[in-house]
Symmetry: C2
Subunit: 192 residues, 2 copies
DNA sequence: TTACGAATGTGATCTACATCACGTAACCAA
DNA sequence: TTGGTTACGTGATGTAGATCACATTCGTAA
C-alpha cells in the first residue's frame, strides 16, 4: 500500500481532514528507508524529527553506563517513534532509535509538526490524541513493571506484539522486559 | 491566590487565549474541595472528570490483588490528575485518586474538555502540550525503574518533589518507589 | 563450504529486596 | 488520660533474578 494511503487511514480515524487539507498535511512528511541495524537517532546527538512506521520494526532504547540496554518500545507499522523528550525540549538525545528490520518510514520535523498543528486545528487534535495514547500505554507499562513479575510481563509482551516473538532476537525481548537474557531463557524453557 | 488566576497563569504559559476566551475556558471548570483521606476516584467505578490541583496534594494509585498499593503520581499544585485510561476509553477506573492532604481542586469533565478543545484551537494546543509533558515524564520514570536501584530512585524522588518528604508518610514514598516500607526504612537509616 | 562472531542454553553462585515477626513511638478520638 | 489505630524500626529468613562462566548452535560473509 502507498505511504500516503497508510498515513491517511491512520489519521482519518481521529481527525476530520478534507482531501485538500490532508494533501497539505502529508506534504510535510518525507519518505525514508533504512536497512536492518541502521541507527536513526543516536544518543548524545540532536533530534529534529519523529518517524511514522510504514513497514518493518524500529526499537527505541536507552543504554546505561554499564552498557546495558533497555528497550522502551518496539515501533511496528502505524506506530510513531522518536526521542520525544529531546525533540520537544531541544536537548540532546538520551534515547536511541534503530532498525530491527529493514524499514520504510515517513519522517516529520519538529518545526513542521508545530506548523501544521498551528495551521490545522484537526492536526493538533490528531497529535493530542496520539500523545494521549502513548501516555496511557506508558503508564500501563510502568504499572506492570511495578506490579508484575517477569513471567507475567513476558506474557503481556507477547499479547501486545504477537508477531514479535518470531521477528526479534530474544536478547531484545529481555531488554524490553528489563531482565537478563539468561533469566528470559530459563523462563521460556521452563514453561514448555 | 484565586483559582482563576492560578489556572490562567498555568495555561497562558502555553496557550495564547484572549481574556474573553479564557473566561469561557474557565467557565467549564468547577471548584471542589476535599479533606485529607477522602477518595476522589475509586477503582471499579466510572470516571468522568479530571482534576487540576490548586492547593494540597493528591495521589493516584493502583492496588493489586494482594492489596499492595503502587503510587503512580503525587499531584501537587498546578498538576493534573485522573485515571486517563478510564476517562478517555470510558471504561471503569483501574486507578484510584485520593487526598494526601486537604485539597482545593478545579474539576473538568471529559465532555467539557473535548468541547473546549473543539471550540478553541488554543485549548487543544494546551492539552496536547500537557499530555506530552506527562508522557515524557512517565517514560522517564519507566526508564528509571528499569535502570536504577531503589536508592537512586529514592534520591530522584526527593529531587522531583522536595517538599514531599516532610508531607507524606514514608510508606507512601515506598509505594511510589515500588519497594516495601521495610526496605525504604533500612535504606533511609543506613545513609545517615 | 568454511569460519567466525552473534545468539542462545544452562549450571553455580551472589545479592537486593520481600516477607514475616515483633517491638516502640506517634496520633487521634472518646 | 486512656485505649486503639497507624506509622515506623529492625532482626531473621526466603527467593527472584543478576552475574559469571562455559558450551552449543545459528547466521552470514568470504
Amino acid at each position: 500500500m502507498e505511504a500516503k494511503t497508510i498515513l491517511k487511514e491512520h489519521v482519518s480515524k481521529i481527525a476530520a481532514l478534507s482531501d485538500t487539507e490532508f494533501d497539505y498535511f502529508f506534504s510535510h512528511f518525507k519518505p525514508e528507508t533504512f536497512k536492518k541495524g541502521q541507527t536513526i537517532i543516536t544518543e548524545g546527538q540532536d533530534v529534529d524529527k519523529e518517524y511514522f512506521v510504514l513497514s518493518g520494526c524500529l526499537k527505541t532504547f536507552f543504554v546505561n553506563d554499564e552498557v546495558k540496554m533497555y528497550i522502551l518500545q518496539f515501533a511496528m507499522p502505524t506506530w510513531w517513534a522518536s526521542d520525544y523528550a529531546a525533540l520537544y525540549n531541544k536537548t540532546k538525545a538520551t534515547i536511541s532509535v534503530d532498525c530491527v528490520s529493514d524499514v520504510e518510514l515517513l519522517s516529520l520535523s519538529n518545526n513542521d509538526r508545530e506548523k501544521i498543528c498551528r495551521e490545522l486545528h484537526q492536526a493538533e487534535h490528531f497529535f493530542r490524541w496520539r500523545t494521549n495514547k502513548g501516555y496511557v500505554a506508558t503508564q500501563k507499562r510502568l504499572l506492570s513493571f511495578m506490579n508484575n513479575d517477569t513471567k507475567t510481563r513476558y506474557e503481556e509482551l507477547l499479547a501486545l506484539y504477537p508477531a514479535l516473538y518470531n521477528i526479534v532476537p530474544k536478547h531484545l525481548i529481555a531488554a524490553y522486559l528489563g531482565v537478563s537474557r539468561e533469566t528470559l531463557s530459563r523462563l521460556y524453557n521452563a514453561s514448555k
